[in-house]
């Protein structure tokens, strides 16, 4: 998407709960693209780093302020109940979208009055699919502490109504039915059989070597969630891990002459960052780790490469070439507070 913004193919953008200035790789490029947009609207519950680039910010809602369902990674559909009202001018995201549709004079399909109606449409739309929700109701979810898809209103083989299908806590059981195999086996292939896929090793796009001999890998710390829009505002969580540090092995630390907590500069083909070292033996000597939850000059994604896995399109956050050296001292941005602080 940002390449299309850069090429001028996308001129306007509306985003919901999106903070690519922190979460996408090579984010200095992302920031340039945000500024290139002719018009940008951000719907978000807090004024995050990306929303600060928006022409219009529409205050959205947290899940505590809305009702609906969430499907967990195990396929369990659970109910979210509203605990508090949206503060100030904030509104539920689905209401904002409907208002936009009405303002654009395209209200068809955007005339819901409550979240339950939206869920009813999901039941209808998913019927007959792999993830069939047709047998799931709000009441059933609450009664059974969650329902696993597929959960049928009608027997997918015969079309006969089923009064109270129990859902499917475990997929791919022998004899199970899905609309791709149509009874010939439990897996999502026409013959119902599973496949082992051979994955050939591909060299990373920006592999370690030459002038950038160290692997940079990025990830998370336990006290922060995603781009930190919520968790960088919560005192005890900030206190738990106040700033990103560069994890490195004692052998690498010795080679560049730094001790634990001293300042280190890491540099890739896209950017540099200066942070304190965290010297531990739990990382490979040829690899450094930086958590990505922070913004601006403390953002690890200034350094990462905007290359993707060809199938999943997941960026190569976990590997790019970098070099590290001892820094003279703290950078000027070390003392700068974030806007919400």
């Amino acid at each position: 998407m940002f390449r299309k913004i850069d090429a001028g193919e996308i001129k306007g953008l509306i985003s919901i709960c999106f903070n690519p200035k922190v979460s996408l790789p090579d984010n200095n490029f992302v920031t340039r693209c945000l500024d290139k947009l002719e018009f940008y609207t951000a719907i978000d519950f807090f004024l995050n780093d990306t929303a600060r680039h928006a022409d219009i910010v529409l205050p959205g809602s947290l899940h505590e302020e809305d009702e609906g369902t969430v499907t967990q990674v195990e396929g369990r559909v659970i109910k979210v109940n509203k605990a508090v009202d949206c503060p100030g001018e904030a509104r539920q995201d689905w209401r904002i979208i409907q208002d936009l549709a009405r303002a654009l004079d395209r209200p068809h399909g955007f005339r819901f009055e409550e979240p339950r109606q939206i869920f009813e449409e999901l039941r209808v739309a998913s019927k007959g699919g792999v993830a069939d929700y047709s047998g799931i109701t709000y009441e059933k979810i609450e009664r059974e502490m969650g329902v696993f898809w597929p959960c049928y209103a009608e027997d997918p083989r015969t079309g006969e109504p089923i009064a109270d299908h129990p859902g499917t806590p475990r997929l791919f059981e022998p004899g199970s039915y899905n609309p791709i195999a149509r009874g010939s086996g439990p897996f999502y292939f026409p013959d119902g059989r599973a496949r082992f896929n051979v994955a050939d090793y591909r060299v990373p796009v920006d592999d370690a070597g030459g002038e950038y001999p160290i692997f940079l890998t990025t990830g998370r710390v336990v006290s922060q969630f995603l781009s930190g829009t919520q968790t960088r505002r919560i005192g005890p969580l900030v206190h738990q891990y106040p700033e990103p540090r560069i994890e490195m092995h004692p052998r690498l630390a010795e080679k560049i002459g730094v001790a634990d907590r001293e300042w280190v500069t890491a540099e890739t083909r896209r950017g540099t960052i200066t942070l304190r070292a965290m010297v531990v033996t739990t990382i490979r000597p040829d690899t450094i780790f930086i958590p990505y939850h922070w913004t601006g000059r403390k953002s690890a994604n200034q350094l990462t490469v905007a290359a993707q896995d060809p199938i999943s399109k997941i960026p190569q956050y976990k590997v790019c070439g970098c070099r590290v050296r001892k820094a003279d001292g703290p950078p000027a941005y070390d003392a700068v507070l974030e806007p919400q602080q």
Binding site: V222, G235, P236, L237, Q240, K255, V280, D286
Partner: protein
């Protein structure tokens, strides 16, 4: 009154360092903003192993014995309470004396505060907050039968020796069954020894 059949079990080997207990504890209304549980790395430079430390609730609490103001009380159901605010003089004797390193003096309010096993909850039969959020049951609150069934390889112990002092506590710590046991945990100790002597796993990595 804390029900007698419910016990608090700590199993440090199950701790994943997620800090959920710390956050849950700090949200409590009786000491809002402060966590009474200490979650420590054993040695972060060498390992990611963490240990959750709650008050062990000693049968003869050293903290109370050394308190010159008699500010630390043990209830008849065996729970050692946080310092009584009108009595505590923030001298820190308890901080120095506790063999488990539990009490902490808050200088800004001149008061010692520590884990009271969520007495507001446990005295009415509820679990301590930390045990309700711990995802790995490193902090477990339940019956002896439950823990026996859940952890057949481990044995709860509540006797600790510090120099010449032997301390018995209400809180129990899960330990691998001893060398006389017939369970495979005997070898856990053996592999730990050899693990310490083993070469650097990254020895082959060139730099």
């Amino acid at each position: 009154m804390k029900p007698d059949h419910l016990n608090f079990y700590i199993d440090p080997s199950r701790c994943i360092g997620c800090q959920a207990c710390v956050q849950a504890c700090s949200e409590c209304d009786t000491h809002r903003g402060e966590s009474m549980i200490h979650l420590e790395y054993v040695d972060r430079a060498a390992s990611v192993q963490t240990v959750p430390v709650v008050c062990m609730h000693c049968d003869q609490p050293t903290c109370a014995e050394v308190c010159p103001a008699d500010a630390i009380k043990r209830t008849e159901d065996g729970v050692v309470q946080s310092a009584r605010k009108p009595r505590c003089i923030a001298c820190g004797n308890c901080v120095m004396a506790c063999p488990f390193g539990v009490p902490e003096v808050y200088e800004d309010r001149k008061l010692m505060m520590k884990c009271d096993m969520c007495y507001d909850r446990t005295s009415i039969g509820k679990k301590p907050m930390c045990a309700t959020v711990c995802p790995s049951q490193a902090l477990f609150y339940g019956t002896a039968e439950e823990i026996e069934r859940l952890r057949p390889q481990s044995i709860p112990t509540n006797q600790f020796q510090f120099g010449n002092q032997v301390i018995t506590t209400r809180v129990l710590v899960m330990a691998p069954r001893g060398p006389v046991g017939i369970t495979p945990s005997v070898r856990v100790t053996a592999s730990l020894d050899s693990g310490l002597a083993s070469p650097d796993p990254f020895d082959e990595v060139e730099l």
